[in-house]
């Protein structure tokens, strides 16, 4: 069962924000806001309706973000903000979203129809909007 991390109203609001980003970048396969421990809180994207995929992606995003954080820590780097994964025909950006009370992960998988820099800017803006909605 999913914990009630954010209120229903906020959840709808965040889903709208994710949908806005998806409208701006139609090559987004999945855009998910996950709790730091891998619960799927809101989803959009062309694969948002695929059975179980958003849930799985949210859990994996939390694992990958934690692993990159652990790697950074071994090398004395702190305050991780972004993890980037690069594939043929797919890029994944994981962005930490910190509010005063909680930490979330914004995870975006996109078919590489836009350049990484643009995707990073969109991810940053979307994260900022989410943060404001949750304050």
């Amino acid at each position: 069962m999913d914990p009630l991390l954010i209120e229903k109203m906020q959840q709808l609001q965040i889903k709208k924000l994710l949908e806005t980003t998806y409208r701006e970048i139609s090559s987004i396969q999945l855009i998910v806001l996950a709790s730091v421990d891998g619960f799927n809180l809101a989803t959009s994207g062309s694969k948002a309706q695929d059975f179980n995929l958003p849930e799985k992606f949210a859990a994996m995003a939390s694992s990958m973000a934690a692993l990159s954080q652990a790697a950074g820590k071994e090398l004395d780097a702190n305050h991780q903000s972004v993890t980037i994964l690069d594939f043929k025909g797919l890029q994944i950006v994981l962005r930490i979203v910190k509010t005063s009370t909680n930490t979330f992960i914004l995870a975006i998988a996109e078919s590489k129809e836009i350049i990484l820099g643009n995707l990073l800017v969109k991810a940053r803006d979307c994260a900022q909007n989410i943060k404001e909605a949750l304050q």
Binding site: M1, D37, G38, F39, E55, S63, A66
Partner: protein
């Protein structure tokens, strides 16, 4: 030249059985932790939960090294389980006897890790066992049903010597299994 061996051992069990606690108790290096804030206090009321893996290390007097890995216990991270099981030479299966339905929870791991558990290269540590003989018998019966020949111990994962006892027992267990391969009549 002396050959130093490395052994990969895996701590397995559900949320809150104490995989992270056990590895932290015995590791000679600060363990690699991927614990984050736990937002599902209903499933288990504790501050943090593992989302990728635990990693710790012990060097034996012989110079051999134990690499200790722990799984994330929550089911949604089960995609990590086969990756972590890969190459493991033995399993430390942990259980929490105070859970509402301890056997059902354990079955998930008996099924998921059956390929190693069925070889007998494993030990089981049961925590929070408040001298209830019946419960220990229940665990042994469950292992029998699966035809897993795994010794069980009542332990407290927070105590270093208990975790070391489990590791010791695991090595004995692995030796027994290897001897029986060498001498199939046994």
């Amino acid at each position: 030249m002396i050959m130093v061996q490395e052994y990969k051992l895996l701590f397995v069990g559900g949320m809150g059985v104490g995989k992270t606690t056990a590895i932290t108790a015995v590791s000679e290096i600060p363990p690699v932790s991927t614990d984050v804030a736990n937002s599902d206090k209903e499933s288990f009321d504790k501050e943090s939960t593992t989302v990728t893996l635990d990693y710790g290390r012990i060097t034996l007097p012989s110079g051999d090294r134990l690499r200790l890995y722990g799984i994330p216990g929550q089911k949604r991270f089960s995609f990590m389980w086969p990756m972590l099981e890969n190459g493991a030479m033995g399993i430390i299966l942990l259980a929490d006897a105070s859970r509402p339905d301890p056997f059902a929870e354990l079955k998930i791991f008996l099924d998921a890790f059956s390929s190693i558990l069925s070889t007998g290269r494993a030990v089981m540590g049961i925590g929070r066992l408040s001298d209830e003989r019946a419960l220990l018998d229940g665990y042994n019966k469950l292992l029998d049903d699966y035809q897993f020949k795994i010794p069980t111990f009542s332990i407290d994962v927070r105590r270093k010597k208990d975790v070391l006892l489990l590791l010791d027992a695991l090595f004995t267990q692995i030796e027994v299994v290897e001897d029986s391969y060498r001498d199939p009549d046994q």
